[in-house]
């Protein structure tokens, strides 16, 4: 089972597909859950306090707006866990946690800079494209190791180098 980063990070379709094919989606929803169910804090609506944008300094400098750093304080830890990623190009509307495009640009950049297998696909606009979209994602997810072992870790690395070579 691989931890798969998805973009958009709150996508129903992506997180469902990742789980359906036996992997763990890294999603914003779980980060938010951790925030909002924490009983020690009360900073509605999502319990982000002024401390969070400071935690985001790990990913972007002080000159980067607070909203970007606050979002990065949630997304950054997921990127650190990432073992594979699916990035969807031109998704439709993007609001809330993915509502800031500067954050999204930084997120995708940081994911791409990691040495992990990445699938980049376009958001489907027709049934035919949807078929292509699903099959590409399925194929990618099938290629990821199901059971995590040292050998699998190596396989991921090989896969990455292979993909790098293709570029």
């Amino acid at each position: 089972m691989a931890k798969v980063f998805i973009y958009p990070i709150n996508s129903l379709i992506l997180s469902d597909l990742v789980e359906r094919f036996g992997h763990k989606p890294l999603t914003m929803m779980n980060q938010i859950r951790e925030k909002v169910t924490s009983i020690s804090l009360d900073s509605p609506p999502i319990n982000i306090t002024s401390e969070d944008p400071k935690a985001g300094l790990k990913y972007a400098a002080i000159e980067v707006p607070a909203g970007v750093r606050g979002r990065m304080s949630l997304i950054g830890p997921l990127i650190e866990e990432t073992e594979a990623a699916i990035i969807v190009e031109n998704p439709p509307t993007n609001f809330g946690c993915v509502g800031c495009n500067r954050t999204n640009e930084l997120t995708k950049y940081l994911v791409r800079s990691k040495n992990v297998p990445i699938l980049e696909v376009k958001y489907p606009e027709s049934e035919e494209e949807a078929r292509d979209f699903v099959s590409k994602i399925a194929e990618f997810l099938e290629s990821l190791p199901k059971e995590k072992s040292e050998e699998d870790e190596k396989a991921i690395e090989e896969k990455t180098t292979e993909m790098e070579d293709k570029k």
């Binding site: 129903l12 469902d16 938010i32 909002v36």
Partner: protein, 147 residues
């Protein structure tokens, strides 16, 4: 990670099925007697409860029509005042709009999953469009102008 005695989670069940209606699915959960909270929404259901219970419930519902029922995590518990339309003063929560877009795509995704399951050959990649080369554009312009 924040540990609450026993971890409670919330999942969205989005139903895009001809066979199963949200009300049927909700009924199925009530019958199952799992100790979870269920809330019906326009897209399907929101289920809150302890992790094991919720996981078991969503899996059970998914199997009702597995390629046409979709699951996603939700950060907030069902009916949380912080995200409730009524208490936050009108206007849907931010994630709603994207979910709505994705829901529109679900019939196509479901059909694709059906095909995949039936082992149909993978669709050949369609050729990507790219920008016209300037030299080609120039030729076209010349051709158009000389008409």
């Amino acid at each position: 990670m924040t540990e609450i005695k026993k971890e409670e989670i919330t999942k969205y069940i989005v139903i895009s099925s001809d066979k199963v209606l949200p009300a049927d699915a909700a009924m199925k959960i009530y019958e199952s007697e799992f100790p979870v909270t269920v809330k019906e929404t326009c897209f399907g259901l929101i289920v809150t409860g302890f992790r094991e219970d919720v996981m078991a419930v969503v899996e059970k519902i998914r199997q009702l029509d597995k390629n046409h029922i979709f699951i996603k995590d939700r950060g907030f518990p069902a009916g949380d005042a912080r995200r409730c339309r009524a208490s936050r003063g009108g206007g849907p929560r931010p994630g709603f709009h994207f979910l709505r877009e994705e829901v529109e795509m679900l019939p196509a995704i479901g059909a694709a999953l059906d095909e995949l399951e039936a082992n149909k050959p993978l669709k050949k990649e369609t050729k990507e469009k790219s920008r016209l080369k300037v030299s080609d554009l120039e030729k076209i312009i010349e051709a158009e102008l000389s008409r």
